[in-house]
């Protein structure tokens, strides 16, 4: 319990009157990589929005590094050390590649990642640093989005469906780079629809189904059968 960097306790999330999450509980231990899988509409995005503060909930429902953050603003949570690679990349079109990366470090958190470090990791971005960010290919934009999140030197990094809309060969290279990116200091949550990739990269997995946790377990230990049942709610 004490080495959990993120604790979600009985999270009920609402969009107005519509309830999207029902009593979701999960944990991320320091240095762990957690996978969150589930079909469309299962509540994965809602979960990510709740953790990053884009959706506010009761303070005690989300606890990060010992502090209740459920009611905080997204920018306050970002300063505390949570960063996200959003679904669909969502780069800033008015900013160049370099500006997108620099703004990732806006919160000014100290750490190992810097502009040079990101360019070392993704050399192709260095060549295109002054280009308008949205003029890059899908895979390159994903690199910018990842780099932008790294620039925040987060303690917890969220990856929201980073394989969406990308060619398989690009997805492969990104996932190959991921363990090196996350390193040993960071914890991560990887939200994916691609179950195989999610299981391969993570230590533990949670499955969401219609707003509830339908399965949790060690990634190496859960059976495909159990996952299918939990995924589809059979």
């Amino acid at each position: 319990m004490s080495d959990a960097i993120l604790e979600i306790e009985g999270l009920d999330s609402f969009y107005g009157d519509f309830q999207a999450l029902f009593g979701v509980s999960m944990q991320v231990k320091k240095g762990e990589i957690i996978a969150v899988i589930g079909a469309n509409g299962a509540g994965k995005s809602t979960l990510m929005r709740s953790v990053t503060g884009l959706l506010t909930n009761k303070p005690e429902m989300v606890c990060f590094a010992g502090t209740n953050i459920g009611g905080l603003r997204a920018d306050q949570i970002a300063e505390m050390g949570i960063a996200m690679v959003p679904e669909g990349r969502q780069l800033f079109p008015s900013l160049s590649v370099e500006e997108n990366l620099v703004i990732g470090g806006q919160a000014g958190r100290p750490g190992d990642w810097s502009l040079d470090g990101v360019y070392e990791l993704f050399p192709v971005l260095a060549e295109r640093r002054s280009q308008q960010s949205t003029s890059l290919s899908g895979g390159q934009q994903q690199m910018v989005a990842i780099g932008r999140a790294l620039m925040a030197n987060p303690d917890l990094l969220l990856f929201d469906e980073i394989s969406l809309g990308l060619a398989p060969i690009i997805i492969k290279s990104i996932y190959e780079a991921l363990p090196g990116v996350i390193g040993t200091g960071m914890s991560a949550i990887v939200v994916e629809q691609d179950i195989t990739r999610a299981i391969d990269i993570s230590d533990r997995v949670y499955c969401l189904q219609e707003g509830r946790v339908s399965l949790e377990g060690e990634s190496g230990a859960v059976s495909r059968d159990a996952i299918s049942k939990a995924y589809f709610g059979v």
Binding site: T52, G53, L54, R73, A74, D75, Q76, A78, E79, A83, M84, P86, Q90, F92, P93, S94, L95, E99, V102, I103, G104, Q106, A107, G108, R148, A152
Partner: protein, 288 residues
């Protein structure tokens, strides 16, 4: 020669109109808000300049040093306390709230200062002029106004495209949610944007007050000039706004040369013509 003079005066007047428009354009660019009280805030700045000038006995142009920061603070407070709450998908709240604000400012000024037209005197600089070949005389003050407009627009461009502030403005304007994930407090960012806009408004207001007489009801007229300059020049382009202001000023002056009563009408007609043939303006960068 009268015609050449009219055109030159019109070009220089365009600088003032560009100052009216710059704040409007900036706010629209950052938060898609059109402030109907914009003109009234320019007039407010002029009246503030009047009070500072008469109380302290300094030259109105110097009063900018006091009026600009005050207007900046007013802008920050206005945005954070009132205008931030109107932002969203619905177009009615910002429109109606800023309209209400316009009425409040106009009538507040009326209560405080009466309806009498006022004018600030900048001393000798008002009548000083530079002689040009061909017997033309160009006023020093209009040239100063025009030069200030260029400096202000250049400054705004620099802030927008080369500073961290501007990066924050552009990012928040692109995608409010993701900008927040970067640690940007959007309420604060919008507040800063409005503060900056009102600093520009302050400069515009002082120049207005020195150049011509003004009264509490002069706001809507200034809003319309600024708006026309923005539309003629094209949304999202500050230098385009300068061109728009120049075109407006020149057309107004040409109209006045033909018939003094046609001055304003000529400007409006130029605006309507551009709206008819180039609805997005001459150098648009974003869509409305």
């Amino acid at each position: 020669m009268d015609w050449v003079n009219a055109i030159i005066q019109g070009i220089l007047l365009g600088g003032l109109y560009a100052l009216f428009a710059a704040g409007l354009s900036l706010i629209f660019g950052v938060m898609r808000l059109v402030n109907i009280a914009h003109g009234d805030l320019i007039v407010l700045a002029a009246f503030l300049g009047l009070t500072v000038t008469t109380t302290l006995g300094i030259n109105p142009l110097l009063s900018i040093v006091i009026v600009a920061p005050v207007m900046g603070l007013i802008g920050y407070a206005l945005q954070r306390l009132v205008l931030n709450r109107t932002l969203g998908d619905d177009i009615l709240p910002p429109l109606l709230v800023t309209f209400g604000l316009s009425v409040i400012i106009q009538n507040g000024l009326l209560e405080l200062y009466s309806a009498d037209p006022q004018k600030m005197s900048a001393g000798a600089i008002e009548t000083a002029s530079v002689g040009l070949p061909g017997g033309l005389n160009i006023g020093v003050l209009p040239m100063l106004m025009f030069a200030t407009a260029i400096v202000v627009i250049g400054g705004l461009q620099w802030i927008f495209y080369r500073s961290a502030w501007g990066r924050a403005f552009r990012a928040t304007s692109d995608n409010q949610d993701i900008a927040q994930l970067m640690g940007l407090n959007k309420s604060h960012v919008f507040g800063l944007a409005m503060a900056l806009a009102l600093v520009v408004v302050a400069i515009a207001g002082i120049f207005l007050g020195v150049r011509t007489s003004f009264d509490p009801s002069a706001g809507p007229g200034r809003l319309i000039f600024g708006f026309e300059a923005v539309i003629i020049g094209g949304l999202g382009n500050l230098w385009g706004t300068l061109v728009g202001g120049i075109i407006l000023g020149v057309c107004q002056n040409i109209g006045a040369q033909i018939n003094p009563g046609w001055q304003l009408l000529a400007g409006h007609i130029a605006f309507l013509v551009i709206l008819a043939i180039r609805p997005r303006g001459l150098f648009p960068r974003i869509d409305g």
